[in-house]
């Protein structure tokens, strides 16, 4: 009897400690075949440190299982931008608009599914009904919803541990990003600049859901940066924070990106540089206080959000070892900044742009005349969608190559009047993109320290999906038309490709089960997992 009792207790103990991802595992994330956070690690390299699949055998890669997202009645839902996590053999992913599923990562079989009760009318002004993934800390998953709530779910069963309202969807706030889990706290940002919200970065206590701090991205009168907003325009300033940032535990610094000022195309209503929109912010995770900031596009009038992945890079820059952050920005410039001080080190175009003569010594753009939107329309490259958008670049720290999924499309920008009305689009104009056969894309490889282009792989259409480099010398990428493929990271030649049959609008990720490497991508509503078998 005692033996059975001991057995029962040990089984109970294993049941209780189902998923176990303490903060220390997140700090060390990257090399053990798990995918523990949205970008693979706090450095946001989206680098798969596995080499079982490599140049020599990737030609044999095949689909091992597929999972089709749950059908939904919610109109306009169905666009999948998720990056699944894999923790010790269980995959956690989100499904449009705000659902969560747990799958057996070995077979793809569903373990549980959770969907929030969303209101009948949910605003999503400026973006589709998407969700980019969950965060995990200890045994709890964290997910944001389209109606701007944050939920904590038991990773074992999907049961709700707590929920909190982050902001009011009725004026345009949503959560579409994958939250970022730090030590005991969950960091989230919001969407909504196209509805004229005033945005922020929030931190929540991971155990209770209590808000720990809020850092506004648009300052109120009297606060630093408020002099860059004319009149009352700060109240509807935008500056959305809708993409997962990066974290340096040694510097104890959180890096978060901000979006466009509102209204998008009519800057007359908001004279000034409009800090801290279109910027990278370095925040103290304990308080949310700003350590430094760098603004990529002052007084933006092209909707060039800086919500791109900030990749943390360590290496020698001009002979000295430095801690850097590399950003391929939507405005078509590639930037290297010192991530301790925010010092601008390098900025160079990586894609066709017709709006700036270059950057000055501080990294400020030298804007060319006649590039602002006008009533009759002004042709500018890149389009509002940018030379890159939210989807991920990838960095191989061993080779020093940064891989950028590049959109090549111009647009005619229009300016119009804008009058703020809560819950309505606050845009001040529009865009006619020169799309289809007038546009294209590429996967670029650049030297991270110099921005020099090493090779490019052309894409028929500008992509909406990211890339992932691996220790096997490969770069996985995908196209809008639905091809998922592997490039040789040295030459850019394609070594393998697979037609998923639907648009791919997300990033690849990878993991291992029973020591066997897997690569995953979602095409349309189907998650495909590949392996050598």
């Amino acid at each position: 009897m005692r033996l059975i009792g001991a057995l029962f207790l040990s089984l109970l103990a294993t049941w209780v400690s189902a998923a176990a991802v303490p903060y220390e595992r997140l700090v060390a994330a990257g090399a053990d075949g798990n995918w523990l956070t949205y970008s693979g690690s706090y450095r946001s390299e989206r680098f798969l440190a596995l080499d079982q699949v490599n140049r020599d055998n990737v030609g044999r890669l095949k689909v091992l299982w597929a999972y089709q997202m749950q059908p939904t009645d919610i109109a306009g839902a169905g666009l999948q931008e998720t990056t699944p996590l894999v923790v010790d053999g269980i995959m956690y992913l989100t499904e449009s608009p705000s659902s969560v599923s747990a799958l057996d990562a070995r077979t793809g079989r569903l373990l549980w599914h959770w969907a929030p009760e969303l209101p009948e009318e949910v605003l999503h002004i400026g973006f589709p009904k998407v969700n980019r993934g969950v965060a995990i800390l200890n045994d709890t998953l964290y997910v944001g919803t389209l109606d701007a709530r944050l939920f904590a779910l038991d990773a074992g069963t999907g049961a709700v541990r707590w929920e909190t309202r982050v902001a009011d969807n009725a004026v345009g706030f949503s959560l579409t990003l994958s939250p970022l889990a730090l030590d005991g706290q969950i960091i989230v940002g919001v969407s909504g600049a196209e509805a004229g919200v005033r945005a922020f970065v929030d931190s929540y206590d991971a155990a209770t859901g209590k808000r720990l701090w809020r850092t506004w991205t648009v300052p109120a009168p009297g606060e630093p940066g408020s002099e860059t907003w004319g009149g009352e325009s700060w109240q509807t300033g935008g500056g959305s924070t809708w993409l997962t940032g990066s974290f340096d535990p040694d510097l104890d610094t959180l890096y978060w990106m901000t979006g466009n000022p509102a209204p998008d195309w009519n800057g007359d209503l908001r004279p000034g540089d409009n800090l801290f929109t279109c910027s990278i912010l370095a925040l103290d995770p304990a308080t949310g206080a700003m350590k430094w900031h760098f603004q990529f596009t002052p007084h933006d009038t092209h909707d060039w959000d800086a919500n791109q992945i900030p990749v943390l890079v360590d290496g020698e820059f001009e002979g000295k070892p430095r801690k850097l952050v590399a950003v391929a920005n939507r405005n078509a410039f590639y930037y290297l900044l010192d991530r301790e001080t925010g010092e601008f080190l390098l900025g160079t175009p990586y894609s066709k742009q017709t709006w700036a003569a270059g950057l000055d010594g501080t990294g400020r753009p030298i804007v060319l005349p006649d590039t602002d939107p006008t009533e009759e329309g002004t042709l500018v490259w890149p389009s509002l969608q940018g030379a890159i958008n939210w989807f991920s670049p990838s960095y191989n720290p061993d080779s020093g190559r940064l891989f950028i999924p590049n959109r090549r499309m111009g647009a005619i920008y229009y300016k119009a009047d804008a009058e703020y009305e809560p819950g309505q689009p606050f845009l001040g104009g529009g865009e006619q993109a020169l799309s289809g056969d007038d546009a294209s894309g590429a996967v670029l490889a650049i030297d991270v320290m110099t921005g020099r282009q090493l090779w490019e792989f052309p894409l028929k259409a500008p992509p909406w999906s990211g890339v992932m480099a691996t220790a096997g010398g490969l770069v996985f990428a995908s196209s809008l038309e639905g091809s998922f493929f592997a490039l040789d990271e040295t030459t850019g030649r394609s070594l393998w490709n697979f037609n998923t049959g639907a648009h791919i609008r997300t990033n690849p990720m990878g993991f291992a089960v029973d020591g066997a490497q897997r690569i995953a991508i979602t095409g349309g509503n189907t998650l495909f997992v590949f392996g050598l078998q």
């Binding site: 089984l11 294993t14 049941w15 189902a18 176990a20 075949g33 798990n34 059908p71 939904t72 919610i74 109109a75 306009g76 010790d88 053999g89 057996d104 373990l111 549980w112 599914h113 959770w114 969907a115 929030p116 009760e117 969303l118 209101p119 009948e120 009318e121 949910v122 069963t157 999907g158 049961a159 329309g377 499309m409 229009y414 119009a416 009305e421 309505q424 689009p425 845009l427 104009g429 529009g430 006619q432 799309s435 289809g436 056969d437 007038d438 792989f457 052309p458 028929k460 259409a461 909406w464 196209s479 809008l480 038309e481 639905g482 091809s483 493929f485 394609s494 490709n497 029973d514 020591g515």
Partner: protein, 282 residues
């Protein structure tokens, strides 16, 4: 049945405790804008002028500066197939038409959308174009001197290489049709989707493969492959990496120009016949 974890974690799990928890899917109703009684009847000249201004920014690229059509259909018609009433028209402008090149509109708010709809309705009150010739005579030109059925299907008859013409009178205006006959290189039908953008729908492509040379109309293309339909209607599929040459002949149509092959009167009759083809609504 124990589900084994991989090496990282030594714990194992009882199958019986792996509950399949399927939360009920939210039975949310489609998040459409509220159906408001159409304000169009009460619009003033100023409202319509505002609608025209918005139309030019958001719609003219496909529907023409005067709504006469181009890539998108001619809107100077009393009845619009997808918009039998004002509320439906609002929906079309707001959300687009699934499966066609009509995207939804991203920028304007609800008031602005109504004003665009009001302007579009006002286009339907404009007098229709006068036909320059005789549609019945034009049908004979279509079937004989024009030889159109070799490449076009109309009302179920013909061979499909170029666009189907059964409702072309619904979608195009006189000037466009005349130009497509006398100078086919000038205009290319486009396909539009909000994700893929505007793509030449009947693009002439010439390839050189190890098997030989092929010319045809592009049916689909991505970075790895391209599919063509030749003038006989056969489909050819190529891996682009195996091609020795690939030429996309933008600005060149495989359709012959009829300026020298038909008389002016024949062209007048033919375009009048084509304008009479309105699909099921003839």
């Amino acid at each position: 049945m124990m589900l084994q974890r991989n090496g990282a974690s030594p714990t194992s799990r009882l199958a019986g405790l792996c509950l399949l928890l399927l939360a009920p899917l939210t039975p949310a109703v489609a998040a459409d804008p509220e159906t408001v009684a159409s304000p169009i009847r009460a619009f003033t000249a100023e409202d319509l002028a505002d609608g025209q201004r918005l139309f030019r920014v958001h719609c003219a690229r496909c529907h023409g500066m005067l709504g006469e059509g181009g890539e998108g259909p001619n809107l100077k018609r009393a009845t619009l197939r997808h918009a039998p009433d004002d509320e439906a028209l609002f929906e079309v402008i707001n959300e687009g038409i699934r499966g066609t090149g009509m995207p939804g509109t991203f920028g304007p708010n609800d008031d602005e959308l109504w004003r665009v709809a009001g302007y579009v309705r006002s286009l339907g009150r404009l007098p229709p174009e006068d036909m320059p010739g005789d549609p019945a005579a034009g049908r004979i030109v279509y079937e004989t001197a024009g030889g159109c059925a070799a490449c076009h299907i109309t009302r179920g008859e013909g061979r499909g290489v170029g666009p189907e013409l059964s409702d072309v009178g619904q979608r195009r205006n006189l000037e466009y049709l005349r130009r497509s006959l006398t100078n086919p290189d000038a205009d290319h039908p486009m396909l539009s989707g909000w994700m893929t953008g505007r793509v030449n729908a009947f693009l002439t492509v010439r390839v050189v493969s190890p098997e030989g040379e092929y010319e045809g109309l592009r049916v689909n293309e991505d970075e790895f492959s391209i599919q063509l339909r030749d003038l006989g209607g056969a489909i050819h599929s190529f891996d682009k990496r195996e091609l020795l040459n690939l030429e996309r002949a933008f600005g060149h149509s495989l359709m012959p120009g009829y300026e020298t092959m038909l008389t002016g009167a024949q062209v007048d009759d033919l375009v009048s016949y084509l304008m009479s083809l309105k699909g099921e609504e003839s």
